[in-house]
């Protein structure tokens, strides 16, 4: 017995090694862990774990629940490192739990400044880890490093002024010895940035202004002083290609959101993806999805990287389901636009020119009377993590289908700390649903849609009654996990979209599922309402 205990302890010791960057780079080799927000640097939200299959998924049962003491939306994806789970209780409390039982090892509480202001919820989407250090951005725009063993703070760096609307809501990205974050606040007329900090002490290593200043390329796409309040926020985690040493980030809307009269021009790098040298932050290339946006079509979605064959040749691809309703394929080495196809109803554009620039439909702009635009203000999709399965070759998107908004513009004066929207999009979908769902037909509906990236064609659809803010996980056994505002967490056949299993978790799902393994048992975790739920097969 003693020998066995010693053996088990030694096993724990050996697997509890520090999380080196090499481990993060090759996270797919240790699928029992979940080391980054999207699982791996490619951000496919795909797990190699294969214990749960289409044949046995019906035997999934609840293993444990952790109830957060927070009424904010639970948007975080947890990390799991060698049996320890780390997650965030909104807005910015960090918790370490036993990933097999849900028992808490430690909890660290953070009280954000009263000056913090966020447009859309006091939320946090997760942590990053390197070595024995956890990293978290806060809604009052601090980047904080914590000791992963006990939750003690190691350093605290102020990134922006919360009173001016700057905040951090996404999980940081680790690249070697740097922790990379971007600021949110696109509804407050911020000037956005992506910056890298020394993991040891928070010293700034480089900074990329998402709204270029007078001495920076791209500034010519702004006029007058509009760039100073140009927006360009970040609120989901970027990706990294180690071969190219490029880190990719999607950038948010220009400010003011719904009235572009005060900011003529394309307004780079809003609504763009940028590829930055991970060592210097220098721009390698950029592609703008929605030039001179007036629909709040933030390009703050997950950059999904995949090495595939494209028209008979190998391609380092970037797949991108954009809030503007289009699914894109981009050469991530060069930034070349390869294709763009609608995955929901789209009426603001009618195709692309030879350079991949969208061709606008005349008259489809916000107006004083209101202009009906598809997709609506929350987009055809949004920050909800998509998934790419290298097995099926399909890209999976949480969509708001048949959804529109009436865009009404007005003139706003910029006042620091006030919302700077320039209008009001009118949505048929209530901001919050009452306990009963009386959904009306003009609201549209939520759906998981499977897209063939090679053609942009839809392979299948799983339709919900209400809309969805849930991310998607796919597995090496061709399962797909997702959910929606109705509170169902479900498993689909990733090849056909047919429903294989479901559980009613009682609260809206506004997070991405993830999977890990402890003691030889595969778990699937998801947040719903104010709690974190884990499922595993019945023993």
């Amino acid at each position: 017995m003693k020998l066995r205990l010693l053996f088990l302890l030694s096993m724990c010791w050996s697997v509890s090694a520090q999380v080196t960057f090499d481990r993060i780079l090759h996270a797919d080799r240790e699928p029992w862990n979940w080391l980054t927000y999207s699982g791996t640097m490619l951000s496919q939200r795909f797990t190699q774990l294969n214990q749960i299959t289409p044949a046995n998924v019906g035997n999934l049962e609840l293993r444990w629940v952790w109830q957060a003491r927070s009424l904010e939306k639970f948007e975080a994806t947890p990390l799991v490192v060698d049996g320890v789970m780390y997650t965030v209780q909104a807005p910015n409390d960090v918790v370490a739990l036993d990933a097999a039982t849900g028992r808490v090892f430690w909890a660290w509480s953070y009280i954000p400044s009263q000056e913090a202001r966020v447009c859309c919820g006091r939320v946090n989407r997760g942590l990053a880890i390197l070595g024995d250090t956890l990293f978290m951005g806060t809604i009052d725009a601090h980047l904080i490093a914590l000791d992963a063993k006990n939750g003690k703070p190691l350093w605290d760096k102020k990134i922006g002024r919360p009173e001016a609307g700057y905040s951090l809501t996404h999980a940081p990205l680790i690249v070697r010895d740097k922790v990379i974050v971007g600021v949110a606040g696109g509804e407050y007329g911020i000037r956005g940035l992506i910056a890298a900090y020394d993991v040891k002490n928070g010293a700034e290593a480089w900074r990329f202004n998402t709204i270029p200043g007078p001495d920076e390329p791209g500034h010519e796409t702004w006029q007058n002083d509009a760039w100073k309040t140009g927006g360009g926020s970040i609120w989901v985690t970027g990706s990294y290609d180690p071969d190219l040493n490029l880190t990719y980030w999607g950038i948010g809307n220009p400010g003011p959101d719904w009235n572009g009269d005060s900011r003529p021009g394309d307004n780079l790098y809003t609504d763009s993806v940028v590829a930055l040298d991970a060592d210097t932050g220098k721009l390698k290339w950029q592609y703008q999805f929605s030039p001179h946006d007036e629909f709040d079509y933030d390009s703050v979605e997950i950059p999904v990287l995949a090495d595939v064959e494209w028209q008979g040749k190998p391609l380092k691809a970037m797949y991108w389901a954009n809030r503007n309703g289009l699914f894109y394929v981009i050469d991530r080495a060069t930034g070349k636009f390869l294709s763009g196809k609608p995955f929901v109803e789209v009426n603001w554009m009618k195709g692309f020119d030879e350079k991949g620039r969208p061709m606008r439909v005349p008259g489809k702009v916000p107006s004083n009377q209101g202009t009906l635009i598809y997709p609506g203000n929350q987009g055809g999709t949004n920050w909800y993590s998509p998934s790419y399965s290298p097995r099926t070759g399909l890209f999976y998107i949480s969509t708001w289908a048949g959804y529109s908004s009436l865009y009404v513009k007005r003139v706003d004066e910029y006042k620091e700390g006030n919302q700077y929207g320039g209008g009001t999009p009118r949505s048929p979908v209530p901001f919050s649903r009452s306990a009963q769902n009386y959904r009306k037909e003009d609201e549209g509906f939520g759906a998981v849609r499977a897209i063939d990236p090679q053609t942009g064609e839809r392979k299948w659809e799983f339709r919900m009654s209400d809309i969805t803010e849930a991310g998607i996980l796919t597995t090496a056994t061709d399962l797909l996990f997702s959910g929606g505002r109705e509170g169902y967490f479900y498993a689909l056949d990733a090849r056909s979209g047919s429903l294989l299993w479901k559980a009613n978790l009682g609260g809206a799902i506004s997070a991405g599922p993830m999977s890990y393994s402890v003691g030889g048992r595969q778990y699937v975790a998801i947040s719903a309402g104010n709690s974190l739920f884990t499922f595993a097969l019945r023993p």
Partner: protein, 248 residues
Amino acid sequence: MVGVFVLIAGSVLAQHSFTPGDVEDGERLYLANCAVCHAPDGNMVPGADLAHGRFRHTSTDAGLVETILKGIPGTAMPPHNLPEFRAMTIVAFLRSIAETSGNATATGDAAKGRTIFEGKGNCRNCHRVGGSGSRVGPDLSEIGATRRAAEIDRSLVDPDAEVLPQNRYVRLVGKDGAVVMGRLLNQDAFTVQLIDTKERLLSLNRSDFKEFAFVAKSPMPSYQEKLSPEERADLVSYLVSLKGVVRQ
């Protein structure tokens, strides 16, 4: 789809560009935050008649939003901790009721109206007030706290003019051909909850049914010919007086 949307927005909300979703959000916020002082009809505060677009301090959308958010110093109007876009939905609601109020007010005799409700009108065959009557239609015990006189009057004359989402009837046809009808209470991707014509609470699996459709025509008859204008005014006054349980 586009055409349908514009038609709805255009007919219900006239020249205003708010959507039904905005108005629904705004109504919920108004009833939760504002109606206690302003009343559902918006006419309880002297000098302000929100249902007819008459405001004391400002009348622009932006000005109303600012008033809601910051309050009016020196008056009973407090500031409200709401995001600006949510305050705007309250304005959307106020604009919509100004648009639909017309001149109808509760000027009849509520006591006579009650007699009509319980007698000639046969209203209790479908509706319920204070524990008496049928549950098949909407319970009207608090109708005066949530709907305005003009809306109630319009529902009596033209029941199909505006059926609130929570009052819609559905018709389901089972795979065996059996028909179930009732008022929709809730729904999700897999199930439907309703109260049927026998007042049974039913929760049904969508997969058991081959058809699910909303009933286009409201089961409620028009009272335009059934009641005289005076009787209708009495009935409206009675319904406006129904404010639910008075909390001590």
